[in-house]
């Protein structure tokens, strides 16, 4: 009796597990008979055997529900630069497909999302890497060691997995190993479009719930230079999310995801979601007052980002608009962010919080960045910075001051991560500025780099 009971419990737990992970074995014999074209059905049925993981994702997606199938996104016109007949299912027919699916495809049904995205800082993520010589030199010369056998590896495995790169095609119109696969949010495609919706809504499920969880952002927004995920975890918002976030509701319709579905905000709530009277937006820069990533934090009064516009109109790589934000400027941006806060907090709570966080940004600008920059400029003018800056102690400390601890200090303050605002932030900075002063005074006195 006990044996039978245990056996049935084991069997039911196996079934439960299988149901939860998506039953790949059933995908293999998938037979679709719904309002899809003949070709659409045959793609799904064949790929259920060939690539069951992809079809499993699709069958759990909203696209699957509304009858948007493989070919609706992967089919391209014969004259597309990406057109191939690499799949045996379409070889010899008049159907051409592309493995790459670009924002031009997504915007056929989601035009506002793509437009807002392209006007945000995310839009320039890939373009600016090409426009900044320093970044090119860092990837290829300093990190890539100019090794002819491993060309592009630093870029392909690291940088562009977040930033995105120009996808290049081989002779067969299929992407090259140096440029694909990538998840870069600013990917630049052969059809001229920019962006990568799959960075947050991963293939082929394109889940809104997934994009609303902090994990969507934290594959890029982590680490020593912008530990946004860690800062979030350090905040009370992250504390609540980590304690009970697995019980929240993440799949409410856009603009209808409100407190009650969750008890604390995730990244998406503050930076993108429609909440209260606020409209949902894919412009992640829109609600930001400062550019906290820059060497010196400036107010975001520059309007929308223009890198994608320049790329489309002039075909040029550009650094974009470092003070891009709300089209009506930083005051409007902050007002919108305060509206987010007011869904849960009192006005006094919100105002007091931002007053002190803003002061921490000003403290960084005035007491750390500006004096450091002044010393750097003076040394440079006197030829007292080494030709290869990465061998120069002053340059290294200066770089870490703004790019690492300086960002942590500011981002920690504005996202309420005390350990980052303080120990990983301003505490490190007060050490750095002393170090810089020491090197500066020594070099000015001796007139040489030791």
């Amino acid at each position: 009796m006990l044996k039978k009971l245990l056996l049935s419990m084991f069997a039911s737990s196996v079934m439960l597990f299988a149901a939860n992970v998506g039953d790949l074995s059933s995908v293999k014999t998938l037979k679709i008979d719904r309002d899809m074209t003949k070709m659409g059905k045959s793609c799904v049925e064949c790929h259920a055997k060939e690539t069951p993981g992809m079809v499993n994702d699709w069958k759990e997606s909203r696209h699957g529900h509304v009858g948007i199938s493989c070919i609706d996104c992967h089919q391209v016109k014969k004259d597309s630069p990406m057109a191939t007949q690499a799949c045996p299912g379409v070889k010899g027919t008049d159907v051409y497909i592309s493995l790459l699916v670009t924002p031009k495809t997504c915007e056929r049904c989601h035009p506002s999302e793509v437009k807002e995205f392209q006007e945000s800082g995310h839009g320039r993520a890939g373009l600016q890497v090409h426009a900044k010589d320093g970044m090119q030199k860092l990837m290829n010369h300093f990190e890539g060691a100019d090794n002819p056998h491993t060309k592009g590896s630093a870029e392909a495995t690291g940088c562009m997995q977040c930033h995105g790169k120009v996808v290049e095609l081989g002779k067969d119109n299929r992407p090259t190993a140096e440029t694909w696969p990538q998840a870069g949010i600013g990917t630049i495609y052969p059809d001229g479009s920019v962006g990568n919706c799959a960075s947050c809504h991963t293939r082929h499920k394109f889940s809104i719930a997934e994009a609303r969880k902090p994990a969507a952002c934290s594959s890029c927004h982590l680490g020593p230079d912008h530990p946004d995920k860690e800062i979030y975890d350090n905040s009370k918002h992250g504390h609540i999310f980590n304690a009970e976030g697995n019980e929240w509701k993440y799949d409410s319709a856009p603009d209808a995801w409100e407190p009650g579905d969750y008890r604390a905000p995730t990244c998406a709530t503050c930076h993108m979601s429609g909440i209260g009277d606020l409209k949902t937006t894919h412009n992640v820069s829109r609600r930001l007052k400062w550019n906290l990533w820059a060497p010196k934090s400036n107010l975001r009064d520059g309007g929308l980002d223009n890198a994608v516009k320049v790329w489309k109109e002039e075909g040029k790589f550009s650094k974009g608009n470092p003070v891009a934000g709300h089209p009506d400027g930083s005051v409007a941006a902050r007002a919108e962010m305060e509206k987010v806060c007011s869904s849960c907090h009192s006005t006094l709570h919100t105002k007091n919080f931002f007053e002190m966080a803003d002061k921490h940004v000003i403290l960084y600008n005035e007491s750390y960045f500006e004096p450091a920059k002044k010393m750097y400029d003076e040394l440079k003018a006197k030829g007292l910075i080494a030709q290869d800056p990465w061998t120069d102690e002053f340059h290294k400390v200066y770089y870490h001051l703004w790019h690492h601890q300086g960002r942590r200090m500011r981002q920690g303050a504005l996202m309420n991560g005390p350990d980052y605002a303080h120990w990983h932030g301003v505490f490190e900075l007060q050490q750095d500025i002393r170090e810089l002063k020491k090197i500066y005074e020594h070099r000015m006195k001796t007139g040489k780099i030791d």
Binding site: D35, V66, G67, D79, R108, P111, K115
Partner: protein, 181 residues
Amino acid sequence: MEEIKKSKSKVIVPLSLVIVGLILGLIISFGSSIGVKHTSDKNYCSSCHTMQPVTNSYKMDVHGGAGKHGIEVKCVYCHLPQDSMANYLTTKVKTGLHDLYAEYFKDTSKIDWQAMREHRESFTYDSACLNCHTNLKDSTESNLKALIAHRKYFSKTTDKTCVGCHQNVGHKDLGLYLPKN
């Protein structure tokens, strides 16, 4: 006698003027309607050498008669606005004069056709597309793809135009026909 003559001429002169005017008006309007018709289809448009690639790709397209039913949509149905007669005619005269000028006084071999495709919004008109595709607006879940893809367009929450998404509609595989730069 004199008076009768005078009163006769008083009637006859304006009357004959009206009749002459009517005839002239008929001739002119008949002539211009023939002219408008004559300058509207592929035969006239493709009489310029420059227009050959677009005509060839058009002939291969559903809009150019290559569909199941052989319906041919004239060049001007898409390339002139269909919202009002006045707008239609003024745009026709303007673009017609521009094309004539370009054909005879400019070096047409220097036209960057691939780049021009990026400005397709400026020489096609949504009013033209919607003149025929009227049912799109009323599509429901019976035609899900049409409903979902066009919902934002008809609710005016996007500034995308028809050719913003349907890039070489009317000209099948246009990129293969146009000269590469």
